[in-house]
């Protein structure tokens, strides 16, 4: 039932001129360097991804990801060092357990699985990073806008349903 609902939602046609907005959280030691390698090698990937560098994928609080979606991101990527490569030894072990659990929760809340991607990208994998961004952007483009802030405002979040917004 959940899946059917999602497919139906995803089929809504995108507004003209809409471009997917994707937030990528990359760890400093591997994935950000990997993204850098993609740039140095002049690999092409779509400009739809906004990269946020963090020191370790283990410090990516799931709240950062829910916040990104709640504030209008159409997709979120989380990349860290491969298991065994963590600069802090076990930071990515925590990511490895958190992200599948977060994904299950997001899917239950109606966010299509393709909108949230968790992958390991090493410092040498510039090609993998560029390919990942291309794939994710394409998949999110097919799904259309997520539009969480507008959707919630229409349901009265922060302003109520019947009357004018209060306060500033």
């Amino acid at each position: 039932m959940a899946e059917a609902h999602i497919v139906q939602q995803g089929a809504t046609p995108a507004a003209a001129g809409w471009e997917p907005r994707i937030i990528a959280f990359l760890c400093y030691w591997c994935s950000y360097t990997g993204a850098d390698a993609a740039g140095t090698a002049r690999l092409k990937y779509p400009p739809n991804v906004d990269i946020i560098r963090v020191m370790c994928s283990g410090r990516i609080d799931p709240e950062l990801i829910t916040t990104a979606f709640a504030h209008g991101a159409d997709g979120v990527m989380v990349c860290g060092c491969h298991i065994g490569d963590c600069h802090y030894i076990s930071g990515n072990h925590k990511t490895m357990a958190r992200m599948p659990l977060l994904k299950r929760t997001l899917v239950d809340l109606g966010i299509e699985p393709d909108r949230f991607v968790h992958e390991w990208v090493s410092a040498a994998e510039g090609e993998k990073f560029a390919r990942l961004v291309r794939e994710v952007t394409e998949r999110v483009r097919r799904l259309g806008p997520l539009g969480w802030p507008q959707r919630m405002r229409e349901r009265g979040v922060g302003c109520g349903m019947s009357l004018e917004p209060w306060g500033a």
Partner: protein, 329 residues
């Protein structure tokens, strides 16, 4: 307390109101849980609205001058247009408006319905429920024509809103229900003018730290081997329930209750909402769980996670309406 009552004006007594919206009524009862203190409260305060306990009409409230009510406790979330209208009315009539209880603060149990559509809720309530007999498939309509003229009932909203989604809230008292001891402390602070400065819905009658801070159970610093539900295994007394594999919301939940549930050998359900600076209790809990799984491979982690039944309902049991995502798409 009597020397503090001068500021109330009128007969020298504070005017208090208590209103219920989308709630179960437990909050009204929890205010009575302060026990004999209720007599002290009545000494310094007059009740000017309390649908659960006294016969005041909406028209009485409309007739009050603005800012007439000194302190209004509002429990329950906003599920329909009547509740929004009364919330706005009470905001206008009250000097201090307090969101009382988990529902007014974070949406509470009713906000779990935010994971369903309105059509789904109506289907379950009026058509699919096995004990129903509704052959004509009647559903409540906001406006009905009858032989007595046009009848109007409140409109059902697409999702449950917090009180602070609808009006400006001065203070929030979380908990399902708020614990009497904390509530009495808050009332004393209120009467004595000692509450923290009004700062858009600051949480009072609770602490910043997590339930773990109040929990008497021993932490053995072991990781979770498998998840269990309370009916599947006996919990070992005096050992951290989370470490035993029971999903206890303690690490992601604000304290103030005195760790009531864990002291009764049941995992914390998270009714006081997120602790400290966290905004999203579910995300905080996912973060906490992720760091204590005993999984060395991704496959093992997934396997363990698959054993968690209904993550949304568990992690956002009381805070769906105040979470980042607020509900299902």
């Amino acid at each position: 307390m009597s020397e503090k009552t001068d500021k109330a004006g009128g007969n020298g007594k504070l005017k208090i109101g208590m209103y219920w919206a989308a709630s179960c009524g437990g909050c009204d009862i929890s205010l009575l849980e302060i026990g004999p203190h209720i007599l002290e409260l009545i000494e310094v305060a007059d009740v000017v609205l309390w649908p659960c306990a006294a016969d005041f009409k909406y028209q009485d409230v409309v007739n009050y001058p603005d800012q007439f009510i000194d302190v209004c406790f509002f429990n329950g979330g906003v599920r329909n247009s009547e509740q929004e209208e009364i919330a706005r009315l009470l905001r206008r009539k009250s000097k201090t408006l307090i969101a009382y209880g988990a529902c007014a603060t974070d949406g509470g149990i009713p906000a779990l319905a935010n994971t369903k559509t309105v059509e789904g809720i109506f289907a379950a309530s009026y058509h699919d429920c096995p004990s129903l007999d509704n052959p004509a498939h009647v559903e409540p309509q906001p406006i009905t024509q009858s032989e007595y003229g046009e009848l109007e009932i409140p409109r059902f909203y697409p999702q449950v809103l917090r009180l602070s989604d609808v009006v400006e809230v001065d203070y929030q008292i979380p908990g399902c229900p708020p614990q009497a001891e904390r509530v009495w402390e808050a009332i004393l602070a209120l009467v004595g003018g000692q509450l923290p400065a009004r700062n858009s819905a600051v949480k009072v009658a609770c602490f910043d730290k997590s339930v773990c801070d109040e929990c008497p159970r021993e932490k053995r610093k072991v990781k979770i081997k498998e998840f269990k539900r309370p009916h599947e295994a006996m919990a070992e007394a005096e050992w951290c329930l989370l470490e035993q594999g029971f999903i206890c919301m303690g690490p992601a939940t604000r304290s103030g209750c005195g760790a009531l549930c864990v002291k009764a050998n049941l995992p914390c359900r998270g009714c006081y909402g997120p602790s400290g600076e966290a905004q999203d209790q579910g995300a905080a809990m996912i973060g906490a769980l992720g760091s204590i799984l005993d999984a060395s491979t991704e496959e093992r982690a997934r396997e363990m996670i698959d054993h968690i039944v209904d993550p949304v309902g568990t992690f956002y049991r009381f805070t769906m309406a105040s979470s980042d995502l607020k509900g299902r798409r």
